[in-house]
């Protein structure tokens, strides 16, 4: 299914909750707010014409104003792709987890938590994954400053 058709379907189902659609982008994408994400994700997964059974990638990006989460979806059943973007405020970066829908989100969300400090609500095990437990700060934030040492070791 074409991304524009997928957008129409989402618009019909969720109305105003579905934000703007960028058809010009290399990967056409739609922006939604954090509150609408769980229902929308569940619909993308369960609806038979969509059947997005695979979360290819979950990336976080630190923009000057906001943190952006990018969910790259793919359907192995219907061979189509779609991208969902969620803006998260930097002051309180909280977003509902999609771990119950796509199991792979468990580790991808832990990674975004570890490196960007995004808090995924209802995540079963939100702990640091790549960095040690006692690491301070979120290295992939643009304002991150590398510490001089870690446990007495020079960095």
């Amino acid at each position: 299914m074409e991304p524009s058709k997928i957008y129409e379907l989402l618009k019909k189902r969720f109305g105003e909750k579905v934000g703007e659609f960028d058809a010009e982008a290399i990967d056409p994408c739609v922006t939604v707010d954090t509150g609408s994400l769980p229902d929308l994700a569940r619909f993308l997964f369960e609806d038979e014409t969509l059947a997005f059974d695979s979360l290819m990638c979950l990336s976080a990006v630190d923009y000057p104003e906001t943190l952006l989460l990018v969910y790259s979806l793919h359907s192995l059943k219907n061979f189509h792709k779609f991208t969902v973007k969620v803006e998260v405020s930097k002051d309180s970066p909280r977003v509902p987890s999609v771990e119950s829908i796509w199991k792979t989100a468990n580790w991808h969300e832990r990674e975004a938590f570890d490196l960007f400090g995004v808090e995924f609500q209802d995540h079963p095990d939100l702990t640091r994954i790549l960095l040690p437990e006692d690491w301070e700060g979120y290295p992939l934030r643009k304002d991150y400053e590398t510490p001089d040492e870690y446990r007495g070791m020079d960095i």
């Binding site: 059974d53 290819m56 990638c57 990336s59 792979t104 994954i129 960095l131």
Partner: protein
């Protein structure tokens, strides 16, 4: 109760066993915390990050062109494939079209590297299960591929050969003949591996029916590549979303059929890799036959500093270990604003619990080996 809880409630026969991070069977620095009851694994929690180098942060501080060596070092067994994925992503973002000769040479390198990588996978898998000989045989044959790479790129493991918009050098004179010699030499060796190991009774007993990964579970965990195909899902990006001219080649996508046990067991994952050796040879023969004789391999390479237009892209290729994806954001400057690597090994490790619970510790070694992970890519 799960292992991550603070108050671990151990039953009288249970114990917590730490495996790794330094352990001969973990294929790098991976730690597994096991809850065991005698020899049986009741729970397993992988702990990763011991090889974390913050490669994504490094890449934000270098230009698109100079990021290639960092990409090499992700899955260091399959450097050419990593470079190809990265180069294609940046080219798509920047709108660069490469000449046909470059496409063909890239496919040749990627398939040679796939063979080299699968040879390590198969050889070390035998080693994990106590069969040392096959490892020596596969390393012997892999050496020939490494020699071919050394001649053309200078490096034997890390190449910096496939560049954005082209290649570091054209093939050296006589290289094609040497590659043809290899394609003559190699196919009989696959029969040798089969005679020595694939159909050996002890191996079948160790691998068949062990660590079955259900296809739906595999898809949900984002498991890809030979591990997914071992579970019977015929998904191969080279076939389904062809890149770099793969649509021109005739090859099959082997999937697990449960020939020795159940679909998606360790034997199936092993055998898919073995069959892929044959398919790679097929692709290589066609690519070498059809390789355009003329063409400047650097004609499409950016002559000035590359500044892709503002935008973002997610693009992926079929690496020996599965879908390697790059998510790149360009803000119009010479450096990537964000570069995220979606690693196939990362998702494979995350699914271990689904396969290992209920099996014995020795089977866990068999399961881990069958996933063929490289920790450099898991941890990035």
């Amino acid at each position: 109760m799960k292992l991550q809880d603070d108050n671990i409630d151990l039953k009288s026969d249970e114990m917590i066993l730490n495996m790794g991070p330094q352990h001969p069977s973990t294929h790098g620095v991976l730690r597994l915390i096991l809850r065991t009851d005698g020899e049986v694994v009741n729970d397993v929690r992988p702990v990763i990050g011991y090889l974390h180098r913050c490669m994504e942060k490094h890449c934000e501080n270098v230009t698109y062109i100079t990021a290639v060596p960092y990409v090499d070092r992700l899955d260091y067994i399959a450097g050419m494939n990593n470079e190809l994925g990265y180069a294609l992503t940046v080219e798509k973002l920047a709108g660069i079209e490469v000449p046909e000769r470059v496409q063909y040479i890239r496919v040749i390198m990627a398939e040679l590297n796939r063979i080299a990588s699968h040879l390590i996978a198969i050889g070390t898998y035998a080693l994990d299960l106590g069969a040392v000989t096959l490892f020596l045989y596969t390393m012997r044959d892999r050496e020939r591929i490494i020699d071919l790479f050394e001649e053309v790129a200078g490096g034997r493991l890390l190449f910096n050969y496939i560049r954005v918009g082209g290649l570091a050098h054209d093939l050296t004179p006589g290289w094609v003949d040497k590659a043809n010699d290899f394609l003559e030499y190699f196919p009989p060796k696959i029969t040798e591996y089969n005679d020595l190991f694939t159909y050996q009774k002890i191996f079948i007993e160790r691998a068949a029916n062990v660590g079955v990964l259900h296809p739906d579970v595999a898809v949900s965990y984002g498991v890809t590549g030979p591990n997914l195909r071992g579970s019977g899902v015929a998904w191969d990006i080279r076939k389904d979303e062809p890149y770099s001219g793969y649509e021109k080649f005739d090859f099959e996508v082997p999937i697990g059929r449960g020939e020795m046990g159940t679909v998606g067991d360790c034997w199936d994952r092993y055998y898919v890799r073995l069959r892929e050796l044959e398919e790679s040879v097929k692709i290589l023969r066609q690519a070498i036959d059809q390789l355009p004789r003329e063409g400047d391999v650097q004609s499409a390479m950016p002559t000035k500093t590359l500044k892709p237009p503002k935008g973002d892209i997610y693009y992926r290729v079929e690496n020996p270990r599965g879908d390697l994806g790059f998510y790149i954001v360009s803000d119009g400057t010479p450096k990537p604003y964000r570069l995220k690597v979606r690693s196939p090994c990362f998702t494979a490790v995350s699914a271990i619990r689904e396969m290992a619970v209920g099996w014995m510790i020795a089977d866990l070694v068999a399961i881990l080996g069958s996933l063929d992970i490289v920790l450099g890519e898991v941890d990035r």
